[in-house]
């Protein structure tokens, strides 16, 4: 992936090809996100520590440790202080102390928000290789692990740098809701000692018996919530579209008014010239017709992104439910034939 001579040769473009996560980090994430969920916090956040391995062309980000941030509702705790103390202490026990990103828990892909994009932008400008890890708690309680790593695309960074979210900028950069954040593939890796530990755990915690949660056939509950979320988002997107259309109409009207006004003035001027009088003084058009500020495209982009993500999640959920249904069918048939044969 060489980008020589690209339009971004002033910045160091660090593409991260993959993210490698230690088993320890996965377990810690699970523990913290679920604890936060059960204790009623909206979502859990924390920092990721690690290092960057193998610079270009195949940059890989290794995440070896993580620690949670204190609850957001508690104002007495100073975030900066907490982070610094934590990282200092961890350095003393030889933990990799490079801050490489942050994580957040989410419920069924509703994580996109202006705050998230802001934070990720801040991270990505200060630390080139940072990623945002999203951990889906609703899915894990169903029995599937859902871990995704996101980075802002270069175009999105440019847009944020200018701070201008008008439709013109969005069109120029050819941004669509899909090219706002890009997903980085994740690999989970364990050291040999961890493998030995896993073998030990396998004896103590027989997996087959207890982990059948995801084979549950009762799908309507989750499906309902997901669809409701999607409907709400679609409604909001509708509102945003209406706003945008209104703005377009206003701009059109303004243009028509301007054209009429110019024509009138020209006629006036011609009339006056034919009568031998001085033409009217040139008036600044822009003072007469103030330009209308266009609505920001950020919200629609975010909403579209969320809806797309939710749609994907719903499809995946449905496909695995279908799979489960198809498994039960032959079982039932077998039982029927067995009882008929008796």
């Amino acid at each position: 992936m060489s980008d020589r001579g690209s339009r971004r040769n002033t910045e160091n473009e660090n593409r991260i090809e993959s993210v490698q996560i230690d088993g320890l980090v996965v377990m810690k994430l699970i523990k913290q996100c679920h604890e936060a969920e059960s204790s009623g916090n909206a979502f859990a956040q924390g920092a990721l520590l690690g290092l960057v391995a193998e610079t270009r062309p195949d940059a890989r980000l290794e995440i070896t440790h993580c620690f949670p941030f204190p609850g957001l509702n508690d104002e007495t705790i100073d975030d900066e202080d907490f982070q610094l103390t934590m990282m200092r202490r961890l350095r003393q026990v030889n933990v990799d102390h490079q801050h490489v990103g942050w994580y957040q828990s989410a419920q069924f892909a509703n994580f996109l928000s202006p705050t998230l994009l802001d934070t990720q932008f801040a991270y990505q400008t200060s630390i080139e290789e940072s990623v945002c890890l999203i951990f889906d708690t609703a899915k894990t309680s169903q029995g599937f692990i859902s871990l995704k790593a996101f980075r802002l695309t270069a175009e999105a960074i440019k847009m944020y740098k200018d701070g201008d979210f008008s439709p013109d900028v969005v069109k120029d950069l050819k941004l669509s809701f899909e090219s706002l954040m890009e997903e980085v593939p994740i690999i989970i890796k364990n050291s040999h000692l961890m493998n030995a530990l896993l073998l030990e755990l396998k004896e103590q915690l027989p997996l087959d018996i207890e982990s059948a949660q995801f084979l549950d056939l009762g799908t309507s509950g989750t499906l309902e919530t997901q669809l409701r979320v999607m409907m709400d988002n679609v409604d909001e997107l509708n509102q945003e579209s209406i706003k945008f259309n209104k703005h377009q109409n206003l701009v059109l009207k303004q243009y028509q008014d301007k054209t009429r006004w110019i024509q009138k003035r020209q006629l006036e001027n011609q009339a006056r010239a034919s009568r031998g009088e001085d033409p009217l003084p040139e008036e600044d058009i822009s003072k007469a017709f103030k330009p209308i500020p266009p609505p920001s495209r950020l919200n629609p982009l975010i909403l579209s992104g969320t809806i797309a993500n939710t749609a994907d999640e719903v499809s995946e959920f449905c496909s695995q439910s279908l799979g489960k249904l198809f498994i039960t069918e032959p079982l039932q048939n077998a039982k029927m034939s067995a009882s008929n044969a008796q």
Binding site: V93, I145, T328
Partner: protein, 287 residues
């Protein structure tokens, strides 16, 4: 001070201990640290831990107490429900230093437990043991204390099990790496597992029928429960339920794909209208 104490450990704790052991500085042979969790009647549940830098010399032990207190404070801010319940050490045996370290922890909390995890794999296994410090001796005469083992087991909640399930895969790969699986693959894998299990069961039943294996009544009863637990529904009802569920799911899939296409359209149209307006603007300016 209950000697019939039970200790439950979450897998996170063990992972953390193993990781701290891997990261220890060169001159330490073992790692110690604090355990936090909750105590509930006769049961101590350990949910988190962090390691403490320390040095062991022949006669004494140096541990960074400030560090321990600092980390505990930080942890308390994030997880206020976790209390100090004891400490851990890697290695296979309890040394004389352990008594000294335990002394410190006795001052911090009532009746701390001591957990050892054998990361050096002395017996070819990573044994985990827990102890409490029990005073013994004859009343009136000199009394001492000793570490008494208590039963310990690993417990995990549902999400943790799901995580472990995924992590277990790394054992079988040469590169020790694995991607998080899409849902459908997980279902197909468990279907395969079920098939294997059913095969094993069938072989056992046939062997019993042949008489080659003695029939075990307990197994027979569980088999009977298994067969009976399939819900009784006649074919028509089952077909109806299956088909309606199928239709619902297919409809939802169709609608979500439709929504996605609509989103794309929306984006494109907004951009088109923007460029239209711009074109018009240029035309007017030239006038």
């Amino acid at each position: 001070m209950a000697v019939n104490l039970r200790v439950k450990v979450h897998p996170v704790v063990l992972f953390q201990i193993a990781d701290s052991y891997e990261r220890r500085s060169m001159d330490n042979h073992r790692v110690i640290g604090t355990l936090v969790g909750s105590v509930d009647k006769q049961c101590v549940e350990v949910t988190n831990c962090f390691c403490i830098p320390h040095k062991e010399y022949e006669e004494r032990v140096e541990a960074d107490i400030d560090y321990a207190q600092d980390m505990f404070e930080l942890n308390k801010k994030v997880a206020p429900q976790e209390n100090l319940v004891g400490w851990f050490a890697t290695g296979n045996e309890i040394t004389s230093h352990s008594a000294l370290i335990h002394d410190y922890y006795v001052r911090e909390t009532k009746d701390p437990i001591h957990l050892t995890l054998d990361t050096t794999l002395v017996n070819g296994r990573m044994t985990m043991k827990a102890y409490v410090f029990v005073p013994l001796g004859v009343p009136g005469a000199t009394s001492g204390s000793m570490f008494t083992p208590v039963p310990v087991q690993v417990v995990a909640s549902e999400p943790e099990m799901a995580g472990l399930h995924l992590l277990h895969k790394t054992k079988y790969q040469k590169s020790r790496a694995v991607d998080p699986m899409p849902d459908l693959m997980k279902i197909s894998e468990s279907a395969n597992e079920m098939e294997l299990m059913l095969d094993a069961l069938l072989k056992y039943v046939e062997a019993v029928l042949d008489g080659s294996v003695p029939a075990d009544n307990a197994i027979g009863r569980t088999l009977w429960d298994l067969v009976q637990s399939v819900p009784k529904m006649d074919t028509v009802e089952f077909e109806k339920m299956l088909n309606s569920n199928l239709r619902d799911l297919l409809m939802v899939i169709y609608l979500s794909q439709l929504t996605k296409t609509q989103l794309q359209l929306n984006e494109k149209l907004s951009m088109v209208s923007v460029s239209n307006i711009r074109e018009m603007g240029k035309v007017i300016q030239l006038d």
